[in-house]
């Protein structure tokens, strides 16, 4: 019986190749990099003409704000957008992947993507990673069956709701929704309520901050209102300005290395023939 060694591509799932190296490094005292998380407040609600999604714009790396104006509302399809909370890399990667799959599906079927398709693709991916892909999402969109709003948890469970909040600021935002939400809101009322809920997260949750992004999806039309509200303007301006005159920095030593000129030989190839 001949043993054949076929180069099989990895089937997916966690690759354990670097675990030994990581263990060796941590023994030597090298700390693993902390994950860039989007602390986050993300919300969504269904109003009379469609859905409105909202998000804050703070991205944190442990206790530090690494991005003061990041984008948490991700494009999935022209009629479907998805807010992401949790590990920033995971939300970006999973929404990008499903967005590509949806586009291929659109080409194959010749139809507008449905929200439930995006939902099923996301939930099966997250379930197969058993919660290790730390992405908590609020998925919203309008397709021919109507407006839809879903929440997706890292373990792969989903809920379908008229209004939803996720992220560390979800409790603050949910408090606003539970007191002020009602069915059949108009577009302006809906945007105002979403902004209020995100602001509640921004001001009451340490993991959320900076600005409010809003996305309004209706049948046939999507409006992405980037930085719809800027409730945290930078008020301090240095009176002296930021200029540094020559001579302020002390030069300790100078070393000049001339760059070598590399001779490039051009070889004439044969003319292209059909």
């Amino acid at each position: 019986m001949a043993k054949s060694v076929i180069d099989v591509p990895p089937k997916g799932g966690f690759s354990f190749d670097l675990c030994r190296r990581n263990e060796m490094l941590s023994e030597k005292g090298v700390k693993p990099p902390s994950f860039r998380k989007t602390g986050t407040t993300i919300v969504g609600l269904v109003f009379q003409d469609g859905v409105i999604l909202g998000a804050d714009t703070r991205a944190t790396e442990g206790p530090i704000v690494c991005d003061k104006n990041c984008e948490k509302i991700h494009y999935m399809a022209p009629n479907i957008y998805c807010c992401g909370a949790g590990t920033a890399a995971d939300t970006e990667a999973v929404t990008d992947m499903v967005s590509s799959q949806l586009q291929l599906h659109r080409y194959a079927t010749g139809r507008e993507s449905r929200v439930i398709t995006a939902l099923t693709l996301l939930k099966s991916h997250l379930f197969s990673y058993q919660g290790y892909v730390s992405a908590a999402l609020v998925l919203g969109g309008v397709d021919f069956t109507g407006p839809h709003l879903h929440t997706i948890y890292p373990h792969g469970s989903t809920d379908t709701l008229p209004f939803a909040t996720m992220g560390s600021g979800s409790l603050a935002a949910m408090a606003i929704f539970e007191s002020k939400y009602r069915e059949g809101l108009t577009r302006d009322e809906g945007i105002k309520l979403v902004s209020e809920a995100i602001c509640s997260g921004i001001f009451n949750d340490l993991g959320s901050g900076s600005n409010v992004d809003v996305c309004v999806i209706t049948k046939g039309c999507t409006e992405y209102l980037r930085n719809h509200k800027l409730p945290n303007p930078r008020t301090y301006v240095s009176s002296r300005g930021y200029s540094f005159t020559k001579g302020q920095t002390e030069v300790l030593s100078t070393k000049i290395t001339p760059l070598k000129k590399n001779k490039v030989e051009v070889v004439e190839g044969d003319a292209m023939e059909e």
Binding site: H155, D159, L171
Partner: protein, 233 residues
């Protein structure tokens, strides 16, 4: 209060399945919790598998959703191949096969209930390990602990549709009163030869039990009253 938003989504739950003369009644509460936070206060835990078979889900929300999605898919294929509606027994066995063969990875207790023309109304219980057991009535979820004695006393054979539904609603209401992980609204699904009826009982319309207080809609009710009582610790 430490809220772990990354805790797996579990349905604390109270789920019930009861047969009556002519069909079955399935009942459930509507609370889905992530640790100590209620992630969804109005979830629907009674999921359709086919026109005539429904399943009540409890335990891990993700696991139970995935299992019911797979079973719905298999049953759809089976119905096409068979040429007639699937029987409740087949549906329950598909659920059991998935639960038993993946018992190390799944954490979900399910109650399968439905009606078919051969055996009439049937209830099958598929708890954590993947056992399958047909019973005239069965209870599941964390709130079921409080209902064993209640059912031992109140259950009768040959109840009418209304009696059975009233029993289910009363039982879920009692469990909600005692179990912190159950709450929200009560949903029931009645399946018989005529079809499927879904009913909804909002939380504030349920009867109050021992020492339960009337729910107040908001602090404004107290503030606007003539002489509000001072807050006491």
């Amino acid at each position: 209060m430490d809220l772990d938003m990354n805790a797996p989504h579990s349905m604390g739950t109270t789920i019930i399945g009861v047969t009556y003369d002519g069909g079955v009644v399935l009942g459930a509460d509507s609370r889905t919790s992530t640790g100590m936070y209620v992630a969804n206060r109005a979830s629907d835990k009674i999921t359709k598998l086919t026109d005539n078979v429904y399943v009540c889900r409890s335990g891990s929300a993700a696991d139970s959703q995935v299992v019911s999605d797979y079973v719905r898919y298999f049953l759809h294929q089976h119905t096409i191949q068979l040429g007639q509606p699937a029987t409740v027994k087949v549906a329950a066995n598909l659920v059991r096969l998935l639960s038993y063969n993946n018992k190390n990875m799944l954490q979900t207790g399910l109650i399968v209930g439905g009606w078919d023309k051969y055996e009439g109304g049937q209830i099958y219980s598929v708890p954590l390990g993947g056992t399958i057991l047909q019973q005239p009535f069965t209870i599941g979820g964390s709130g079921s602990s409080y209902l064993y004695g209640f059912f031992d006393q109140e259950w009768k054979d040959g109840m009418s549709k209304d009696e059975a539904e009233k029993l289910v609603v009363k039982a879920v209401s009692l469990a909600i009163a005692r179990d912190g992980a159950s709450g929200g609204v009560i949903r029931t699904v009645i399946i018989n030869s005529e079809g499927v009826t879904r009913n909804f009982y909002p939380g504030d319309a349920l009867p109050l039990w021992h020492e339960e207080l009337e729910s107040r809609n908001s602090l404004l009710d107290i503030v606007s009253s003539a002489s509000p009582e001072p807050m006491s610790i």
